[in-house]
Each structure stands twice: as structure tokens, then as C-alpha cells.
């Protein structure tokens, strides 16, 4: 069965090559098949021959390694020819081209495994090639198209846009007569503060160690940087400060909620999962809108309840609070899994050894939490950097990097400038990524070993429990208020002005909103399943296998998450509007955009889950002669199912709530719910917008809650055994 795999794939490819139309929108079957093309171009002949070679190698008697090498060559050349043919002919690819390329690539992968060039067999080889091709086409290629636009104007290379943008005062303003304090002075103050903090142990009489000196340098540098940022103005400064503040606040809140979730003794524990999931299922700008209604100058809380008259929430403060509300659940989702699977036996052991609570935290709990915290911080900071809805609605027009990308494209029609802003954002994310790598190092954090663990999680100390619960209650109350005003908004005539009851908004939805909502859900569902599977596959390949280009694959996949939606959107338009890969105007481009924006969550949650599973489990499985697919199916997937479910859900939800990328891609007949809500809200049809947003939120809640429960019931075995 396994040995016949090349033959099956070659058969599929040959059938597609001979029977299915090579390009879309070309009439005249059978004259439109790849086979028919073979009469006109030598490349098609090559593709056919490569497929035949695959069939022969699959069926015939062959030396394993020898045939594998030939298979690699045939598959590699064949798929390169197929891609080349698609690009060269410039007609949008059809089913024939798609399936032929796919099977040729799979053949090359199977060959890699057979020839022993990739450890783990044909499945691993094929998976690596397939994932690389997909990520290359739908993440790297569109970004390359944008970057090309940033350094090439009219076909000539130039640094003009780069220099113009980076020296612009919107980007970073270091000197201006209107600044209260010169940035240099603040930077100096920050450096002095860092120096004081770092040298305190030395003054206290301890001998300076290498680590202490490194810490000193870090503190001085960090203090100077933070001081510089505080003193300066401009998009770069605003985005960095915002991301830092929101990242730290959300991660801290997420950790607090994760601790409550696993170890609280109070009844509020049950409300954690559903409530903290609420902001995730809401488009960020809808929350921002509700925010104005509660905390604006005429907000029902600030003005109605407290009698204030303040515009303070229009500005970075409002953006920061709204982002913390929106992104804390992401940190919670990442950390909940980590905290839940902390092995209580380790803590018990430490307690038996008379560790003080402080020592327990420092030497056991903290090192176990660190990867989760780093992941959460990274995710939240990236989200904050890329979010454009809240800065746009609440930012008071203060520049941020993400809004400038958007304004450059949508307002100044300058893809070159937007690309430079995108480049800066990507660089920042790259720096975060490297920082996280460095922080985590190569330390192992295995807590799932397959060996039984008898510990029971230690409940939180009562005072801490009560304190954290108090924090949670404040957060929950704020969330309830936001949603309350949103739901109410759909039932009153004019939100904030005329509060008489009406059903008109919902009646209006029947023709204009509901079909769009269903279409959005359909496309998101189509995208979510492959996205989650591909995400897990990439996580598995990059953590469990070594191959050339491993880091490149992992990083390019993450790019699709990090790249601001607007840049990705323009990239998709630039890359897929013409030639062989033409996709604009179809539902497929929306599905692909959804898929590759959601996939990185699958990767990260898969990686976090896999990092906790001891490799000996897989080694045992392979000693029992299970191949890689069987090991995946029977050992790993059951263990990481919660992570898989999280990836799937998150991709679906992200697809249904995202707006910045798809606003460029919607086409007549394929409108999306968020784009519709935004355009209604912009034109003051707030009631209808609120009604559709409420429906969207309720729909996502109905999807999320049962699935969440399913994911929870399937807890990781060692935790279930220990924690009960």
C-alpha cells in the first residue's frame, strides 16, 4: 500500500493532465487539456513525461534509493515546468494545472523520502514541499509584490520612497518647537534611571558578575530607548509604546485569568472561558464603536453616569484600553493551555523539598510558564502593531504605523510609501520574533511524558484568588457593558439619541445583511479546516524534523500573521490580479486570504502544544513500526487536539471578524459581513450596523461555545489524570 503511493499520485496527475481543462475560462474540451497543449509546447510534453515516469517508478520493481532519486528529479522538473507553463501562458490556472502540479510535487516529496534525503519517509518529504509551495505562493509572493513596489518605481530600482518615508515627520518626529521636552533629555534621564537600577546590587556590595553587567547594559539601553520614545512623536513611537504597554498589560491579565481558570476556588471560575472569549468573536472596530458610546464626550458612562465632559478617550489612552479589552483573550487562550498542563507533581516535589512560595515561583512555575508568556506577549504585540480599526476610530487621528499603511494606500494612493511602512512593521515583528527565540533558547519544557503523574494542582492562596477574581470581575463588567450597548443599539431607533424601541433594523437585515452573513460564514468555514491542518502540519514539521529551509518556512508562515492586513490585501491584489495566478473577483481569493491569515495561529498553538510532548512517545511509536502518518494520527493528534481545535476556531473567527485585508478583495456578489458593518457604521446606519454586528457575535458565540466545551473535555491525559 505504502509502496504504491507514487503510482496513485502519478495516476491522479495523469488523469487531470489528460482530462481536466488546463486553464479556466477557456472553452473547447478536450482541446483545452494539458494533453492537448503537449502538441503545441515542449513544456507540456515534459510534464506528461514526468508523470509517466512517476507511474513507472511506482509500479515497476525498483531499488528503493535509486528510484527515489529519479522520482525527485522527475517530480521536481515536472512541477517547475508546470508552474512555468502557468506563468508563461498567462491564462488563469484551471483544475488540470492545479492537480498536475500538486501530484508532481507530491511525487518529488515521496522520492525525497524514499531516497533517504529526508528523514521520516515520503509523507514528510511531500508535506515539506507542499507546505513550502503554498506558503511561498500565498504569503511570500504577495509580500514580494508589495516590496517590489517599495523599491521599484516604474521598473527602476530606487531608494526614493524609503528615504522620503523614513525622514517624514509623520513617521518619527524628534525635534519640533511644539514638543514639551526635547527627546534627547528624556532619553538621558531614562539611561540614568537604568544605570541606577542596574548598579544597585553592585552598590549593595555584591560582586559584579557577567550576568549583572549584561543586565546593566540592557537596562541603560532600554531606559534610553524608552525615554527617547516618550519624548518623541510620530507613528513609529506611538506604535511601539502602544504595543509595549498593551502587550504587557494583556499578558499579565491573560496570566491572571489563566491562573483563575486552572486553580481558583471561587464560583466565578466557570464564567472565565465564555466571557473572555467574547471580544475575540467581535470585529475590533465594533468594540471601538461601542467604546465611544460608553466613554466618549457624551458617553453613557463618562457623561451620563459620572457627569464628566472629557474627550480623553479620543487618543492613545482610548486605543490602549480598547486593545487591552480586545487582545487579553488571546493571551488568555495561549496561557490557559500552558497553565492547565503545568505538572502539579513538580510543584509538590518542590514543596516537599521545603521550597518557599517565592522559590517555587522562581525555580519551578516561572520557567514552565516562560514559553507561554513569551508566546502570549509576542502575539499580543503583533496584534497591537497590526490593528488598524481601533487606532482609526479612537486614536483621534494620531498617527500609528498601521493607520499610516492604510492611509498611504487608501488616501495618498501611494503603494510605495505603504510598502515602506509595511517593511518597518515587518522589521519590528522580526525583532520580536528573534527576541522570543533568544529568551526561550533551547531549553526543554517537557511536561507531558506519557509517564503517570500524580500531582494535584495547588489552589491559589485565598488572598491572591480574591484579588485576581476582582480584576476579572472588572474586566467582565466592562465587556458586558460594551456588549449590552451593542445589542441595545440594534433595537433602538438611533443609538445614543432616540432610544425608542424598534425592530426596523432587524427587518432591514433580512434582505441586505443575512445573506451576506451566511456567505461570510461559508467562506470562513471553507478556509478554517485547511488552515488549521496546514498550521499544525507546519508546526509539526518545523519542531520535529530538521531539513534545509526549516526556519525560513516557519518564518514565512508567520509573516502572513505579522504583515498588516492592509499590506497583505494590496499584495493579493498586485499578485493575483493578472497572469496565470489570476484569482481576483472569485470567492477563492477570499478563502485563501482567510486561510493564510488564520494558519499562523494554528502553527503557534501547535508548536506550544508539541513543545510539551516528549519525543520518546513518537520514538516508541516508530519503534513499534508505525510510520509518520500513523504516529501523527494515533499519538500526536489525540494529544494536541485541544490545540488543533483552538487553531481551527481561531481561524474561522478571525476570518469572520477581520476587515483590513478583505476590504480590498471583496467583489460584487462576494460581500463580507464586516465590510458591510463598517460601511453602514460609516454612513450613520448605526442601528442596522449594530443589529448585524449583534447577529455576527451571537452566531460566533453559538459556534464557539460548544466547540470550546468539546475541546476542554478532551484534556491532555496527564492533566486529566492529575487534576481531575
Amino acid at each position: 500500500m505504502r509502496h504504491a503511493a507514487p503510482a496513485w499520485w502519478a495516476g491522479l496527475g495523469l488523469a487531470a493532465f489528460a482530462l481536466a481543462p488546463w486553464a479556466r475560462g477557456v472553452s473547447g474540451w478536450p482541446g483545452s487539456t494539458g494533453l492537448a497543449l503537449a502538441g503545441r509546447t515542449w513544456a507540456a510534453v515534459g510534464i506528461g513525461l514526468a508523470l509517466l515516469a512517476g507511474l513507472g517508478l511506482g509500479l515497476g520493481p525498483w531499488g528503493r534509493v535509486q528510484a527515489g532519486r529519479i522520482l525527485v528529479a522527475a517530480g521536481g522538473v515536472g512541477s517547475a515546468l508546470a508552474l512555468g507553463l502557468v506563468f508563461a501562458r498567462g491564462e488563469p490556472f484551471g483544475a488540470g494545472a492545479l492537480l498536475s502540479t500538486l501530484s508532481l510535487l507530491t511525487l518529488a516529496g515521496l522520492g525525497l523520502g524514499q531516497a533517504g534525503l529526508v528523514r521520516g519517509g515520503g509523507f514528510v518529504g511531500a508535506a515539506i514541499l507542499g507546505a513550502s509551495l503554498l506558503v511561498g505562493l500565498f504569503v511570500v509572493y504577495p509580500l514580494a509584490a508589495v516590496l517590489h513596489a517599495s523599491v521599484a518605481v516604474g521598473g527602476r530600482l530606487t531608494t526614493g520612497p524609503l528615504v522620503k518615508t523614513v525622514t517624514s515627520p509623520v513617521f518619527l518626529l524628534l525635534a519640533h518647537e511644539a514638543l514639551p521636552v526635547a527627546p534627547g533629555v528624556v532619553a538621558l534621564a531614562g539611561a540614568v534611571l537604568g544605570l541606577a537600577l542596574g548598579s544597585a546590587p553592585v552598590l549593595a556590595g555584591r560582586r559584579p558578575t557577567g550576568a549583572a553587567i549584561r543586565r546593566l547594559v540592557l537596562l541603560v539601553g532600554g531606559g534610553a530607548l524608552v525615554g527617547l520614545l516618550l519624548g518623541a512623536r510620530g507613528a513609529l513611537r506611538n506604535s511601539l509604546l502602544l504595543a509595549g504597554a498593551v502587550g504587557v498589560a494583556s499578558t499579565a491579565l491573560g496570566l491572571a485569568f489563566a491562573l483563575l481558570d486552572a486553580r481558583s476556588r471561587l464560583p466565578t471560575r466557570r464564567w472565565l472561558a465564555p466571557l473572555s472569549a467574547l471580544p475575540i468573536i467581535t470585529p475590533a472596530f465594533v468594540l471601538g464603536l461601542a467604546f465611544i458610546y460608553l466613554f466618549g464626550r457624551r458617553g453613557s458612562v463618562t457623561h451620563g453616569l459620572l457627569g464628566l465632559d472629557t474627550g480623553a478617550f479620543f487618543g492613545p489612552l482610548g486605543v490602549a484600553v480598547a486593545q487591552v479589552m480586545a487582545f487579553t483573550p488571546i493571551a488568555f487562550l495561549v496561557l490557559a493551555g500552558v497553565v492547565r498542563s503545568l505538572d502539579a507533581a513538580l510543584e509538590e516535589a518542590a514543596q516537599t523539598l521545603r521550597a518557599t512560595p517565592g522559590a517555587l515561583l522562581r525555580t519551578v512555575t516561572w520557567p514552565l510558564l516562560r514559553p507561554g508568556l513569551a508566546n502570549a506577549l509576542l502575539l499580543v504585540m503583533i496584534e497591537s502593531l497590526a490593528d488598524f480599526g481601533n487606532p482609526l476610530l479612537l486614536g483621534g487621528g494620531v498617527p500609528f504605523l498601521s493607520t499610516e499603511v492604510f492611509l498611504a494606500i487608501e488616501g495618498r494612493f501611494d503603494p510605495h510609501e505603504a510598502a515602506v511602512y509595511g517593511l518597518v512593521l515587518l522589521t519590528l515583528v522580526l525583532a520580536l520574533f528573534l527576541l522570543q527565540r533568544r529568551w526561550l533558547g533551547d531549553v526543554s519544557f517537557v511536561t507531558i511524558t506519557g509517564r503517570p503523574s500524580g500531582g494535584r494542582p495547588v489552589p491559589l492562596p485565598r488572598a491572591l484568588d480574591a484579588g485576581l477574581t476582582g480584576l476579572f470581575v472588572v474586566y467582565a463588567a466592562l465587556a458586558m457593558l460594551l456588549y449590552g450597548s451593542l445589542f441595545l443599539g440594534g433595537f433602538v431607533r438611533v443609538w445614543g439619541i432616540d432610544h425608542r424601541f424598534t425592530l426596523d433594523h432587524y427587518r432591514g437585515l433580512a434582505t441586505a445583511g443575512l445573506p451576506v452573513l451566511l456567505e461570510t460564514a461559508r467562506l470562513a468555514a471553507v478556509a478554517a479546516i485547511p488552515a488549521a491542518l496546514l498550521g499544525f502540519l507546519i508546526a509539526y514539521l518545523t519542531t520535529r524534523h530538521r531539513f534545509a529551509g526549516r526556519t525560513a518556512l516557519e518564518f514565512s508562515a508567520l509573516l502572513s500573521y505579522a504583515a498588516p492586513g492592509t499590506v497583505m490585501g494590496i499584495g493579493y491584489i498586485l499578485a493575483f490580479n493578472q497572469g496565470g495566478l489570476r484569482l481576483t473577483g472569485t470567492a477563492a481569493i477570499l478563502v485563501l486570504a482567510f486561510m493564510f491569515r488564520g494558519m499562523p495561529v494554528g502553527i503557534r498553538s501547535g508548536m506550544a502544544a508539541l513543545a510539551q510532548i516528549d519525543r520518546t512517545l513518537e520514538e516508541a511509536s516508530s519503534l513499534l513500526r508505525a510510520d509518520v502518518p500513523a504516529t501523527l494520527r494515533r499519538v500526536l493528534v489525540p494529544l494536541v487536539l485541544p490545540a488543533l481545535v483552538t487553531g481551527l476556531l481561531y481561524c474561522f473567527i478571525r476570518a469572520m471578524t477581520g476587515v483590513s485585508q478583505v476590504i480590498f478583495l471583496v467583489s460584487p456578489g462576494h460581500d463580507l459581513a464586516t465590510v458591510l458593518i463598517l460601511s453602514w457604521a460609516e454612513y450613520g446606519h448605526l442601528g442596522r450596523g449594530a443589529a448585524l454586528a449583534s447577529l455576527l457575535v451571537l452566531f460566533l458565540a453559538a459556534v464557539l461555545l460548544p466547540a470550546e466545551r468539546l475541546g476542554r473535555r478532551r484534556r491532555l491525559p496527564s492533566v486529566a489524570a492529575g487534576g481531575g
Partner: protein, 341 residues
């Protein structure tokens, strides 16, 4: 059990998700890129379909985004007609060769002052005054007078009480800039824009938002087109339109045929249909409460009248030139926008 349940659920979802929705035939169809109030877009879709049987689809994007979209799709346009939106973005698109100008059947019936101003560039669809949406209630609470001129908007007493659209994204914001420059000249105009900048509480992306913020009482003055203000007032927001006494700008909303339109014949039918008085009534009924371009279309009584305003002699040609437009917006973005408020 759970696995089987989950699997069947997945199967059902997969079937539903994978079911192909019938693609509309390429014949008998027209695609609109629609920039005004979405309610108007919906009404056009419904009534044009009813009148001709042609299947009509639209995507709503504000003028700036729509121009970006048409530029990006230059090689392969999805859209046939760009319906509505600020005239200068159509003007720019026309100058870049993205649109095809033609005189529709009803050209002779359109208001001559409009056709004279934009002949050769786009088809006028509607026209409206540009000025302030004022919330009297908030001003009274603050014991401030109603600002009567652009100059007064720069008075520090209005600090934190003004919303205006960002000229980078909004045609409405660009019209404000060009109006002030045309009244006072470029250098003094930019001094005034700087003074106004210091008073602004919120820059918005679209031209419709400032009047909404003023209507809700978040700010006292929202720089806006009259039609947005009147539409808010009709929806019971406490807001009214004030035409600035030192000079009032105006816009000519546009209708254009996209170059290389995939459904050209139907696009031409839609353009002719959209200029009939009967179809033009849809605008004022659906949010675009302005003067429609066909002289035979009746004007609603609450539309602010051109005769009562001191109009600036708006140079559409000059300010629709991409180079002039880019230079002005660039200057504002670099010299005024970054100043700390």
C-alpha cells in the same frame, strides 16, 4: 461517540461549505463600485434590476479606497461603473486613464453649470455644499457662539470641539483644504489650517463621520458636506448645516464608466438609467440629500440652497490635477498633521 458526532458535524459543515453557489452568467450583469451611502447603492441595485432585468451587484468603497481599488485592478477591471463619490477622485482616475469619458443620452438635460465644469472628465451625478455640521446644544453648554467662518474655526476657544476628515483618505477633507486655500491663498491658508489642527479632537477616515460625531455631541463642529448633515438631521440628530461666510466650497458627485469594463453594454444602460429624473429621486430618499444633476429632478425642501451661500469659484481643473492634489496633501501631512495637539 463524541468522535462520530464531531465527524458527522464536520461532514455537514463541509457539505454546506463546499456547495457551489451558482455563479451568475457573464451576460445580463453589471458590477458597480459604489461610493455614496450604501442605502442608495442598494436602491439602485434593486430598481435597475427591476427596470431592466440586468443582475446588478455592487461593492461600496469610499472615494479614496475606490480609486485605490481601480488602480490596483487596472490590468483586469472587475467593475463596470463607478457610481458616486467625490468628483476629484474621478478626475484623477480619468487623468490616469482608468476611466472612459463619454457623454450620455441625457447630457443636454443636466444642469449646465455642472456639465460646463467637468466636461471631458466625468458625468455629474449630484452636487452639494460643503461647510459645518453644527451642534447648537453643545455650543450653548460651552457658552460659545456658532462659528460663521473658516477663520473662526481656528480660534483657540474651539479647542477639542472640532472633527474633520483626514484629507489623505477623504474627498471631503480635501475639499476643505482647497476651499481654504482658494479663499486665502496657499501660505495664509496653511497658517489657518495649522490653527484649526490645534483645535481638532478627531480626524476621521471618511467624510461622513464628522457630522456623526457632531450630531452625537462628541464635538461641536464637524466639517462636512451638507447632504450628510441634512441626512443626520432627518434621523433626529441635533445638528444643522452652516455655510461658512468667508467662502463655501462644493462638490460635484461623479458617475463614470470604467475603462475596459467587462460588461460595457449594460454599464452604458445603467449610466443612462441613473440620469433619469425618476431614478435620481432615489438619492435624496436614501441618504444623499443633495441637488441631483438632472435639471428636471425636483430638489427636496431641506437641501441647503446654493443661492444662499457665498460660493468660492472652485477650480476643479486645477485641484483635480494629480500633481497639485498630491503636493497639497503632502504639504499638509508633513507640515501640519505631525504637530502635537
Amino acid at each position: 461517540m463524541v468522535t462520530r458526532l464531531g465527524a458527522s458535524a464536520l461532514l455537514i459543515v463541509g457539505l454546506w461549505a463546499g456547495w457551489p453557489t451558482s455563479p451568475a452568467a457573464a451576460q445580463g450583469r453589471v458590477n458597480l463600485l459604489c461610493s455614496p451611502d450604501p442605502a442608495w447603492c442598494e436602491a439602485v441595485k434593486r430598481d435597475f434590476n427591476k427596470a431592466t432585468g440586468i443582475q446588478t451587484e455592487f461593492v461600496r468603497l469610499s472615494s479614496g479606497a475606490a480609486l485605490a481599488r481601480i488602480r490596483a485592478e487596472k490590468a483586469n477591471p472587475t467593475f463596470d461603473v463607478w457610481f458616486g463619490g467625490s468628483g476629484d477622485s474621478h478626475w484623477v482616475a480619468q487623468a490616469e486613464g482608468l476611466l472612459e469619458f463619454l457623454r450620455p443620452k441625457a447630457w443636454g438635460e443636466l444642469r449646465p453649470n455642472l456639465t460646463r465644469a467637468v466636461d471631458g472628465h466625468y458625468i455629474p451625478l449630484y452636487t452639494g455644499l460643503h461647510g459645518f455640521g453644527v451642534n447648537d446644544k453643545l455650543l450653548q453648554e460651552k457658552q460659545l457662539p456658532v462659528p460663521a467662518t473658516w477663520k473662526e474655526l481656528g480660534d483657540p476657544k474651539y479647542k477639542g470641539l472640532i472633527a474633520m476628515p483626514n484629507p489623505n483618505t477623504s474627498g471631503t477633507g480635501y475639499v476643505m483644504m482647497t476651499t481654504i486655500v482658494q479663499i486665502y491663498g496657499e501660505e495664509p491658508g496653511f497658517e489657518l489650517l495649522k490653527a484649526i489642527h490645534k483645535n481638532v479632537a478627531q480626524y476621521t477616515r471618511s467624510g461622513g463621520d464628522p457630522s456623526l460625531l457632531a450630531g452625537r455631541g462628541e464635538v461641536a463642529v464637524g466639517v462636512s458636506f451638507a447632504n450628510d448633515v441634512v441626512e443626520r438631521a432627518r434621523k433626529a440628530f441635533p445638528i444643522r448645516f452652516v455655510a461658512p461666510k468667508d467662502g463655501t466650497g462644493y462638490e460635484i458627485g461623479a458617475l463614470s464608466l470604467v475603462k475596459g469594463a467587462p460588461n460595457r453594454a449594460n454599464a452604458l444602460r445603467l449610466i443612462d438609467w441613473a440620469l433619469e429624473p425618476e431614478s435620481q429621486k432615489l438619492g435624496p430618499q436614501n441618504g444623499e440629500v443633495s441637488v441631483q444633476s438632472n435639471a428636471r429632478t425636483p430638489v427636496a425642501p431641506d437641501v441647503p440652497r446654493f443661492e444662499d451661500a457665498k460660493l468660492v469659484d472652485y477650480d476643479f481643473g486645477k485641484y483635480g490635477t494629480p500633481a497639485v492634489r498630491d503636493a497639497l496633501i503632502k504639504r499638509w501631512t508633513e507640515q501640519i498633521f505631525p504637530i502635537p495637539r
